[in-house]
Amino acid sequence: MKLLGMLIFGSVLFLSCAVTEEGGNAVAKKDINAVMQAHTAELMALPGVTGLAISELEDKTPCIWVMILEPSVELEWAIPDSLDGHPVRVVVSGEIKPMDGN
């Protein structure tokens, strides 16, 4: 069920991206921070997603990071390659914890 849910969610996001990109030349891209914020709730709800951030590709193009706990084919499939025309990259973050010592 979890996998099915991820796939359905991923498909919806993918279709949303595809529609946006078809008309990409006609309309200016939305601000990448606003795009990430608009999708934060859905993405953070995916099991295994630890965080989101704004980074850059090697060519300095801004991109959205979706951070995940560990490598996961299911999550790679569920998370779209782009959102509202902005590239998305899935990165493994590991478990994020406070950094005190004991």
Partner: protein
């Protein structure tokens, strides 16, 4: 006097002195073996020094077992004092052991120095910053970037601590800046029958570096009682400096003084920090405006208190926890420049892949404070 000389100049000088001993020893052997020996008087002086060194080493050997019976004495050595005379060095990791060290042994002067475990002298592991110890007790006024924590942070069979990161000004007074979860996060009576509250002492070094025994530490500040979590977007806490205990210029170990102005993070920006566990480390900002969930405990080694969603955070590369590791929480993230770097963020969380910092602007705004610096 000799001891204070070494204290003032720290382990760097001590290492130079040890190196000098080795160098003299090698030169002495060379003089004996080469046909082109220096003058007789130089030869005589070298031989005398060599003899004195041997006697000092023998004395050191005779007393090492007794000296190291103190658990806070981590080593002994033969060195040269400021006048070039042989001396016995006692390496201690607490103020108590340093104070207990004799001033001479069998007429040979003793130089007692602060140190961490011997590995720190090699410049690897938790030392960082060219031999500067971030875990050892400092002679006040102390520098930031050092081990510290809430004096009573001991519960459930563990003690906890982190880093006293930087100095800030608030309402005309100076405060030590660290994390909420380092100084103020004990919110249940739980395993130690107390909660962190305003006026409680903040110590240096933290309990984790003194076998959980607060008597081996010194009080340097008192908790403000301002709890930034769970209500705000920063994991910060401040403690008012006890007069004379902290350097008023806000100097940070292995970094020095910083700027009083701050700068926003940018992707690719070169950064550094000075922290209790990994010392002085460098990396770069890899992402911005991060949203992350962090689970907090309600006391040291306690149960889960709450899960906080942070937004707008700074992400830094961590390369297998080489930049930030457990115990570095509370470190200040600054520009990687030599002179008066500007503050960028307050480090508080991480994984082996990435480290996370609250933007310093948000931290200062939340605390109604400014950085102490030039």
């Amino acid at each position: 006097m000799k001891r204070s000389f070494l204290k003032k100049h720290g382990l760097g000088l001590a290492m130079v002195s040890v190196a000098a001993v080795l160098t003299v020893g090698i030169m002495g052997c060379g003089v004996e073996e080469t046909p082109l020996a220096p003058t007789q008087s130089t030869d005589h002086s070298a031989a005398m020094l060599e003899g004195a060194l041997k006697r000092t080493m023998a004395t050191q050997d005779r007393h090492t077992a007794a000296l190291m019976a103190d658990p806070d004495v981590v080593g002994t050595a033969t060195t040269l004092d400021g006048n070039g005379n042989p001396a016995v060095m006692i390496m201690a990791k607490s103020q108590r052991a340093l104070n207990a060290a004799p001033t001479e042994i069998e007429g040979i002067p003793v130089i007692a120095v602060y140190t961490d475990q011997p590995v720190a002298l090699k410049g690897s592991g938790g030392g960082g910053g060219g031999g500067v110890s971030h875990k050892a007790i400092q002679t006040p006024p102390i520098q930031m970037g050092t081990s510290g924590g809430w004096r009573y942070d001991l519960a459930n069979g563990y003690c906890c601590g982190g880093t006293l990161g930087a100095l800030v000004n608030r309402s005309g007074s100076q405060y030590v800046l660290s994390n909420y979860h380092v100084l103020e996060a004990d919110i249940v009576n739980g395993g130690n029958s107390r909660v962190a509250q305003a006026g409680d002492p903040v110590i240096q070094p933290g309990l984790i570096d003194i076998n959980c025994n607060a008597n081996s530490s010194q009080n340097v500040a008192t908790l403000s009682g301002i709890k930034t979590l769970p209500g705000s977007n920063v994991d910060a806490a401040i403690a008012q400096v006890i007069p004379g205990m902290v350097r008023t210029d806000g100097s940070i170990l292995a970094i020095g003084t910083i700027s009083s102005s701050t700068i926003a993070a940018t992707v690719g920006q070169a950064v550094k920090k000075s922290g209790r566990t990994t010392g002085l480390t460098r990396n770069s900002v890899v992402a911005l405006n991060a949203t992350i969930n962090i689970a907090y405990e309600n006391e040291c080694a306690g149960g889960q208190s709450f899960v906080k969603t942070f937004t707008g955070q700074i992400v830094i590369g961590n390369n297998g926890s080489k930049f930030l590791a457990g115990g570095d929480s509370g470190s200040l993230l600054v520009q990687d420049v030599t002179t008066n770097p500007r503050a960028i963020g307050l480090l508080f969380a991480g994984s082996s892949f990435y480290a996370y910092a609250n933007p310093i602007g948000q931290v200062l705004s939340q605390l109604n404070a400014t950085m102490v610096g030039n």
